[in-house]
Symmetry: C2
Subunit: 223 residues, 2 copies
């Protein structure tokens, strides 16, 4: 089997949105992985870590699966014509058009979520209709070839879901075993429905401000 | 609060061993994170992705928490005097001496696991006594200031565990919510005790060969 996976990088990407699925999908037998950015210069992530692309948008082969991670850098990515055009062109021919976290809005800016059921980071889900998508409150959502994951760590569950479909459940389970993916979080606060009320009260202002600002950025795209 | 976290990189590191905890610990309020390697050149990981260090072993400040990720590149790391000396020197003064996956053996090669309870990737746990450690079959193990995580994705659970201790459970839960760490693996095959027997039969030869080879590499350290 030959399969080409393309990850899209941009400055201030939340690195785990990308590195989680990369770790899972890179081990797919017969898969070739490309990490594409505007130039070959290292791309700064949100964690002080810079990530080195393997190819440029101009030189990147066509993907069977294209994956766009998220992060606060999505604000820049959706406003960048070159990045959006690359995602649109790849998405038009890819078998799987995918995102993790707020990467969904880059797919949306490229017109790839029109009428599609999709998910994103929990705090941003109400904004999915702004890019033509149908909001679904789930960790991984599939609508035809469009597969979207929730916030950050949901990218790992997303990756195992698509891996099982592409390579079969046995391969997916073998990679799950190799990566010892048997999660045991010390707290149960990974979503707004399970986090303590006191925590939600503490952080809701931050997320409200941030998503209001982002809503304005999305609105600016339509002008 | 001022807190210095140091991650140690080496060629062919399993990138998620490092990028998972990095994503969690980097958001600790008041924390400074250094990503240290022999030189400032990008370090190739196991996934075709190169990672850019922020400092060299020579220039790296003393850590409050030093974390060594694992991967097949550990074979090279334990045989490299400069890497082992850096981990030994950092570990001597750090409040937390930590590892993810087979990074435990780098701590071991530096003499930091003598008489300590520790864990590592499930396939390598039987080799922990070779570096003086007491094997524990758990996802995260703490023995005084030594905190070790199991294979690859265990690094995320490890990171939330130490984060809660350093910064308090409320900060840990806030970051868990921000990273939407509410895992939902599509399969339950993340450990040898839960993977289907057919899968274990399929992969056990690979892991037996690999760990036998690694046992020889550990034995060579003692000569």
């Amino acid at each position: 089997m030959s399969f080409t996976t393309v990850f899209v990088l941009f400055p201030n990407v939340t690195q785990l949105d990308f590195t989680g699925p990369l770790q899972v999908l890179h081990r797919m037998p017969g898969a070739t992985t490309h990490i594409a950015a505007k130039t070959l210069d290292p791309v700064p992530s949100d964690c002080g870590l810079s990530l080195v692309p393997t190819t440029t948008f101009a030189d990147c082969p066509q993907a069977d699966l294209v994956c766009v991670p998220g992060g606060f850098g999505v604000s820049g990515a959706i406003a960048d014509a070159e990045t959006v055009a690359f995602v649109r062109a790849q998405g038009a021919k890819a078998r799987y058009v995918t995102s993790v976290c707020t990467g969904a809005f880059v797919l949306g800016a490229a017109g790839l979520l029109q009428g599609k059921r999709a998910t994103t980071h929990w705090a941003y889900r109400h904004l999915l209709p702004e890019v033509g998508a149908i909001r679904e409150d789930a960790r991984v959502v599939r609508d035809g070839g469009v597969v979207t994951g929730g916030g950050v760590t949901a990218g790992i569950d997303f990756a195992f879901t698509v891996l099982a479909e592409i390579a079969g459940p046995e391969i997916a389970q073998g990679i799950q075993l190799a990566l010892e993916y048997n999660p045991a979080p010390p707290f149960d606060a990974g979503g707004p429905d399970r986090a303590p009320e006191s925590l939600m009260n503490l952080v809701s202002g931050f997320w409200t401000d941030r998503t209001r600002e982002f809503a304005g950025e999305l609105a600016a795209l339509k002008r």
